[in-house]
């Protein structure tokens, strides 16, 4: 008997550990370390390496081979699930990357915490091609740490056969009329931003009363059964298969869904929205700074930006690529690029005028977000 008990306990502990200790690696695609040849021994010893961590499906992979062929630098390309997952990897020291591609608010946080290295822009001549409107932004006002990678907008995707008329307001995300047909995003920042915008507040507010009011709006809609589910990547299957009528997600991903379901539409609501910039940064702990800057310069080139824009559907910050994309599209596919499609990819100025970047929130506001988000889930 004793033995059985001991065995059971041991199994229990081991099993629990699987699910607690590693905090979620069975749902993320990040693979910890590249393990074979990324441990900093390459400096001066022949083989040159750069460790890149980005998001899934976020690069035209041919670029990796091209870079390797051109420079002889081997790229260890890894992905993380979200900005928060990336942050967690960096904090625990699990990810020893050189280049990362976080979003604006996370960049601000990393700079705040002294985790990013200043770049030597002399090694990144292609930085000149990045449009001025994507430089000097709130997360890196003096342009010391970042080279923008892509930008885009957050908006509402809806199935025109499942709603009445056109949707143009965040109201739709909280409307009882669509009960059971709305997909809310599973990300506290974006979900609360939708509620804040609907109430006419700023998405970067630190006013606790306003944030709580936004939470009440969400919680009320949830209790009325408006939300079919809370989704991230699952949104693709659900919207493409007409399993839900309305979702909030990113413009670039909408274009992917549109290819599989022509009934879908995208709108940046009239109350405004978030526009985001993902930018390449080098970590202070990077072992291969020179290679990292070579990689950044390569990716910032017009050619790479065109390939990426075509592959992932997000807008390029490289002006030559951004403006040259319709011509590139026509040349590649033999047909002109749909104007509407281009405008969703690269939101025109009048749309951007009502959009705002996320800024990094102070620690107590982040805690409030997390507490409210947990409460919503309970």
């Amino acid at each position: 008997m004793k033995k059985a008990l001991a065995l059971t306990c041991a199994m229990t502990m081991a099993a629990s550990l699987f699910l607690t200790g590693c905090g979620g690696s069975d749902y993320t695609t990040m693979s910890g370390n590249g393990s074979d040849n990324n441990s900093g021994s390459s400096n001066g010893s022949g083989k040159r390496v750069v460790n890149v961590c980005s998001w899934g499906e976020y690069i035209d992979e041919d670029l990796i081979y091209k870079f390797e062929d051109e420079t002889g630098i081997k790229v260890n390309y890894q992905t993380a699930e979200s900005n928060e997952a990336l942050y967690s990897l960096l904090k625990t020291g699990a990810g020893d990357y050189d280049v990362i591609v976080p979003s604006d608010y996370m960049i601000a946080r990393l700079i705040d915490e002294g985790m990013l290295a200043e770049l030597n822009y002399d090694n990144i001549p292609n930085y000149e091609k990045i449009g001025e409107q994507y430089k000097s932004l709130s997360f890196d006002p003096e342009n010391k740490y970042t080279v923008p990678y892509t930008w885009g907008t957050l908006g509402i995707i809806y199935n025109s056969t499942m709603v009445d008329g056109d949707i143009d307001s965040w109201d739709a995300m909280f409307d009882e009329k669509y009960a059971g047909n709305v997909l809310m995003i599973r990300n506290s920042r974006d979900a609360l931003a939708a509620a804040l915008l609907d109430l006419g507040y700023d998405i970067n507010t630190t006013d606790e009363a306003q944030i709580r009011e936004a939470y009440e709006l969400l919680a009320d809609a949830k209790s009325k059964g408006v939300y079919q589910s809370f989704v991230m990547d699952e949104v693709f299957g659900k919207m493409e298969g007409s399993n839900a009528a309305i979702a909030m997600y990113y413009a670039g991903d909408y274009l992917t869904m549109l290819d599989n379901n022509p009934d879908l539409k995208f709108v940046v609501p009239k109350e405004g929205s978030n526009w985001f910039v993902d930018a390449m940064c080098v970590l202070k702990t990077a072992q291969h700074k020179e290679e990292a800057e070579a990689w950044i310069n390569f990716i910032a080139s017009t050619e790479s930006n065109l390939a990426n824009m075509d592959y992932i559907g997000y807008a390029s910050p490289n002006l030559e690529a951004l403006e040259g994309y319709p011509a590139y599209y026509e040349e590649t596919y033999g047909e002109p690029l749909d104007e509407e499609r281009y405008e969703i990819m690269a939101a025109p100025d009048e749309v951007l005028a009502r959009c705002e970047l996320y800024t990094n929130l102070p620690a107590d506001t982040l805690t409030l977000y997390n507490d409210l988000w947990t409460e919503l889930g309970i």
């Binding site: 008997m1 033995k3 059985a4 008990l5 065995l7 059971t8 306990c9 199994m11 229990t12 502990m13 081991a14 099993a15 629990s16 550990l17 699987f18 699910l19 607690t20 200790g21 905090g23 979620g24 069975d26 749902y27 993320t28 699930e81 979200s82 928060e84 997952a85 942050y87 967690s88 904090k91 625990t92 059971g180 599973r186 506290s188 920042r189 949830k222 939300y227 079919q228 589910s229 809370f230 989704v231 699952e234 299957g237 659900k238 298969g241 007409s242 399993n243 839900a244 982040l366 805690t367 977000y369 997390n370 507490d371 988000w373 947990t374 409460e375 889930g377 309970i378």
Partner: protein
């Protein structure tokens, strides 16, 4: 001595265990009692009351899933053990087969099956089941709501963990000493009595380890609840994951919740083993 020489080969695993089982548990304990600014604190546990609902929901769903696994798994194992070796081998392969594919992919497939416009609802529509339902109950539905419910989460748990129930029960039953059964028969027991008084008690160790192997991953799952439950009703695994992967990054609270969960699970297992103690003395795994 021979025995000693052999046990030397266990050393790699002992090291493994120390590094990857014992050390992480110690870290979980340390984190659970630490504040983010450093130093000892009980604050992480003070918050635990808020999460009672999540704890009860997780334990409830895991218990239901485990019970269903026992109810399905036991008869299957029993039946298998009664058949010829060829049938047993085939059944074993079929039970293991789904496990050759990744767990997440299998759960994703369930999403496609259970969706409002998914395979099952399309089938129901085609064979007129939904129209029939509307006729009988005077409703106007175009699908049965299956995904994003607690039922779907339980289904996901049962589907994914059922083999872990069948295998230990089967391996105990198949090794039962047949002379005991014959002896019971000789003493005049009918087949119901043989099952109740001999086979069932002797197979309990298998059931107990099956329960452990189903219950523990069920109670802490987060992928299943996220995909099939739609994230509208948070389970413990989701709650813990959120502390690590969420915006606030609070591994201290995450560790505290994990620790409380582990303690509750261990208590459950101890109680369960005490419960089965009297009957399983005859056979030990």
């Amino acid at each position: 001595m021979k025995n000693n020489r052999l046990s030397r080969f266990a050393i790699p695993y002992v090291i493994w265990m120390a590094l990857f089982v014992v050390a992480p548990i110690i870290m979980v304990v340390i984190y659970a009692f630490s504040a983010s600014v450093g130093g000892f604190t009980l604050d992480n546990f003070a918050k635990m009351g808020t999460y009672t609902v999540v704890f009860t929901r997780s334990f409830k769903l895991a218990l239901i899933a485990t019970a269903i696994c026992v109810l399905i798994g036991y008869p299957v194992s029993y039946k298998m053990s009664k058949e010829g070796p060829r049938f047993q081998r085939l059944a074993m392969v079929l039970i293991m087969l789904p496990m050759w594919m990744n767990f997440l992919l299998r759960t994703y497939s369930w999403m496609a099956i259970l969706e409002n416009n998914g395979l099952l609802n399309q089938l129901f529509r085609k064979i007129g089941l939904i129209a029939l339902y509307n006729n009988i109950f005077g409703t106007d539905i175009s699908f049965f709501r299956m995904i994003n419910t607690q039922g779907a989460v339980v289904l996901g748990m049962v589907y994914n963990y059922l083999p872990f129930m069948i295998l230990p029960i089967y391996s105990v039953i198949v090794k039962l000493d047949h002379s005991l059964i014959e002896a019971a028969r000789d003493l005049g027991a009918n087949s119901v009595q043989v099952f109740r008084r001999v086979i069932l008690p002797l197979s309990l160790p298998g059931v107990l380890s099956g329960i452990t192997m189903v219950f523990v991953p069920s109670v802490s799952t987060f992928a299943i609840s996220k995909m099939l439950g739609g994230g509208t009703e948070m389970l413990l695994g989701d709650l813990i994951e959120q502390q690590y992967m969420g915006g606030a990054y609070n591994p201290y609270l995450g560790a505290a919740i994990s620790l409380v969960m582990m303690v509750i699970v261990v208590i459950c297992m101890v109680v369960m083993n005490r419960f089965g103690e009297g009957e399983e003395q005859a056979v030990m795994m």
